[in-house]
Point group: D2
Chain length 345, copies 4
């Protein structure tokens, strides 16, 4: 920690800060500048508690931690890349993985048709919500258990893995029975009760970045899950909220490269929520491949204009097929780079 002291602090006030730091088990290094005193605290202790305590002292101007607040999810803890395995597919390895499907499971026909289509064009996982987080209480809230059963049927038919959202710690066990990957939505990224319960779940988790969450907070939420017992986490960029209204969200695509520097966990992009607009999805998907994402999760619906939710951002079957074809040469470049990287380690 580095603690800067306010101008004109007295010697006694500075000493009180040093004493406080020592109480928390740190060694004190004091730097007396021309204008101001800055103190370095070195050692091992409860950083947060110490910082909180120091910041509450009126003579302290600022107290900043130097080490990262997360550990298990960091590249420093584990230098390579983690591979997460689900339904026989490896995410974070040498395969670029596409997950696709409707926003919501709406009917048997709709989900089976979609499963057929996305499987045929190269997806490895079927997405589809059974429990839907909707801004309005009057909107379609999902088919719940019935939806989960339909997802299972789609899996039996196509062999696709299933990724679906869980919204409450009370539902984790039930959803885990049907899902190969548990999806945590943006609005639940800091639902800590839910994060804790995922630690005990026997399933990989795909954790979406919150609408206004920083990259660091995303990693802290992943750290929650690891600290509670589950290391199998896939991160997902899905756009953040900014002042720009031309797109539903603002895709912070650079965060994928940042996460690759900071963490060993795989990162995928959701170009559907990041744009909110079907016509922009293929271009953004190309960019995701090029920047080094580990995969995509894309909304596809047999008839988007009949969708109960997210129709405007869902690709229809023809558009999905054409996008997958168009991505091929980019994925080839991706594979070449990834193979070289994994050989180099």
């Amino acid at each position: 920690m580095i603690i800067s002291i306010k101008l004109h602090a007295t010697r006694a006030e500075i000493d009180a800060v040093c004493d406080r730091i020592r109480e928390f088990g740190y060694k004190v290094h004091s730097i007396e500048g021309e204008e101001r005193v800055v103190i370095g605290a070195v050692g091992v202790g409860d950083v947060t508690a110490c910082l909180e305590s120091l910041e509450a002292m009126p003579q302290v101007e600022k107290a900043v931690r130097i080490s990262a607040p997360y550990k298990f999810v960091s590249r420093e803890f584990r230098p390579g890349r983690s591979q997460i395995r689900a339904n026989g597919v490896e995410i974070g390895g040498d395969e670029f993985v596409v997950m696709a499907g409707p926003c919501s499971v709406e009917s048997e026909k709709q989900i089976l048709d979609t499963a057929d289509i996305v499987a045929r064009h190269g997806a490895k996982f079927l997405r589809g919500g059974a429990f839907k987080p909707r801004t309005s209480p009057y909107d379609f809230q999902g088919m719940e258990l019935e939806g989960l059963k339909l997802l299972r049927r789609a899996k039996e038919r196509t062999g696709l893995g299933i990724i679906t959202e869980v919204m409450s710690d009370g539902d984790v066990e039930m959803v885990a029975e049907y899902a190969d990957i548990l999806q945590i939505g943006a609005r639940n990224m800091q639902n800590f009760a839910l994060l804790k319960s995922l630690g005990k779940a026997n399933r990989p988790v795909m954790l979406k970045r919150g609408l206004s969450s920083t990259v660091k907070e995303l990693l802290m939420s992943a750290e929650y899950i690891v600290a509670h017992g589950n290391q199998n986490i896939i991160l997902c960029e899905r756009g953040i909220r900014t002042f720009e209204t031309a797109t539903r969200n603002t895709c912070d695509i650079t965060s994928i490269a940042v996460l690759n520097e900071l963490s060993h966990l795989p990162v995928i992009l959701d170009p559907s929520h990041a744009t909110g607009k079907r016509s922009l999805v293929p271009a953004l998907s190309r960019a995701a491949v090029a920047i080094g994402a580990d995969g995509l999760i894309v909304e596809v619906h047999p008839q988007p204009e009949k969708a109960l939710s997210d129709g405007a951002q869902s690709l229809n079957p023809g558009q999905f097929a054409s996008m997958m074809r168009e991505l091929e040469p980019y994925v080839a470049l991706w594979s070449k780079a990834r193979t070289a990287e994994m050989a180099a380690v």
Copy 2:
């Protein structure tokens, strides 16, 4: 709804839009401009589903709803102000209500001391977290049930009402046994499983605005609770996330006036989280009174520099006393205006 059609759409494409609108039970009014066709849809139906469907049609440029997406929480539904009653105190009426206490319940002595102090200086509710939403899994997570019991003891001793946070739908019943008001934190404003369970709770709810939630979304989350059976809701502005880092959050103080125009629900301000800095709390509290908030929820700690969380933004006893004194003439102006308003209705 107003639907604008893309330039160069064919007659058949426009007709398809009109047919779709009629399928949802609306009447169609078409406006043919110099350049572009705009369609008005009039009637009663499932607005969201219709909008989603229209937006998914490629010939549609934009589809916008005109009516507000919430109903029960709006001023149009209920023209006056709602009063919410808890532990014999009315929020939203002619009394400016202060809730105060530590971020977390830390020990019996700490919470009882704080209760004594805030009661003495005019607070009507004791705040204090037993379940703590913390960004890091390694930080203090609250005393849980033990903390709730200490809050009850503080209530027995001082008569203060208790407001405390509930973080999971599974805990609502337990927390409701101890709390007079259930607090929903900013990170859970769109935890829809939790919102639904609050509809069944037999306690008023204080709903904090999410870090990146709009005023409209805050009202939609309140609408969730009402739609599931509980009308007793207090809204709380606590600052939003912006690019500015001089304060912990950016207090959108105007939202209080906006909410007063749009809704009948009471609105209070949390100046502690809105600023993150103790020295700014009194000034912002004065502004909250002046703009017409119904109350404040303020962090107070007997020894902020020993607090396990939020020490930097907690007032010490002397500062709280002096702030309450300083607020008096502003509250007197507030009361005069409120009494006049209530008499006029």
Copy 3:
């Protein structure tokens, strides 16, 4: 400066950083932590150049300055409050100063009528744009020199001081002939060519905070003007750009209290641009008085629905009169507090 070194840096890499710091004339204090080395640089030198140089070294993780980047505008440089005098009125002293008038000067009748109205109800300055920054090239761009002459006529008639915007360094001299205070708009807060030319102007400057500028950047822009020769600066909060669309901008009202802690310069609020909506202006103006602003700049138009710009946020004469009356008891509390503060110094 505090420089943290990346994990696993070699001794030679660390030494290279220390050497670089010394080249800029600073002394080096090295703190060797359990995991990481942190270096403090103490002394007087070209901080920015040194920071830039260090940040470009690959072994450096972060380099942070401790001292504020501004000097002349800081409270540390000048502990009290500055008073800025224009047309015989003091801003930043013991009088709460209201500036009012239309967005744009539109005609002789319009500006003279407005001047009469705002003078009658207590304004001390007449605002009105002759050069208008408009998002669209097709919108009304102002009456330019003709507008300035009409403002002078309004001053002759009412005695009000004139505040009007200057948009280009080439126009400063001309506008200064007619204006008592030169207004710099939000979009020009970092127009450095303009800021430099204001240093030479013989008129006080009102500097509006940029739409996405931090408080620190606002102070840096003020520092530009001072560094180029003009100390007479009034700061103005006018709302920042965020994701919230219920208001035209988000008023960061706390910034007024923050600026009062950091700087000796007066700060006023523009509630018209901060809200964009006439009905919210009086409530926000009360809050500005309560939080300790030095004044207001408010849009008033004899017939807002005929205004060529900003009609929706302009008060009509009756509304302005009623707001000024309503503010009176708040201004009385303000005066009492200010007088006490100035006596205490």
Copy 4:
């Protein structure tokens, strides 16, 4: 325009709105809903003035324009892509164009060395600031005219085109003597005096998106330049300001695809300012090629750690060479797609 009327408006109030609309030369189409009246205004007139006037009427809830506020820069006005030609190179055609060089011109040796390096590895333009917009008045402000002369020398030596920033309308003529492309920085995107003067300049303009400007506002600023006489505009995404601090700015990469839908103007990306961090530049540059940008503008410095500005985000010669090599296969895919698109028209 679509105008929605407030609930409970009287017939007379609605009629007044209709009359006002007709005064501006529009025809009125009234839609009477169950709850609310909505009015469509059709025709040709001064949209902005009419909107402003309507929004100022208290019975109007919202007035929205349907047509885009820009014309000349839109795809609707000109369906294909514009090619901008400078120093014999075409931007927006079938060549992916790289502009590279230091943040600032610092010395003859520095700029000539950089020019040699970037020319050798495939750049077509040399960037380098002679006039520098710096947040602090105490930072290096550029070599000004001397810097422009050094840029000319670099051009004579290497044949590279020159792109350099102009910060004031008073300097446009001088800078245009030395520059092949005039760069407008993010902080000047809405410096309307400067935009107007560019209309008269005999040089293409590269217009950077403002830190908090929407895509629509960027297009409006381009429209300013066209409306004042200069059609040769290149747009540039360089990251926007958000709450995220892991990168210097947040690259809104999707805006490139959005701009390609809305406008015929070429769009390039500045990955250096978008990230602020050298290590992220190559990955983001790949994404820019993949999403369909027309080029890049990248900071390169012979010795970044000696740079007077932006060292941390500047590539050194080896890194630039390696990035250009790595981009080759992506540029090949880009060329194939672009050629196909241009053949199809």
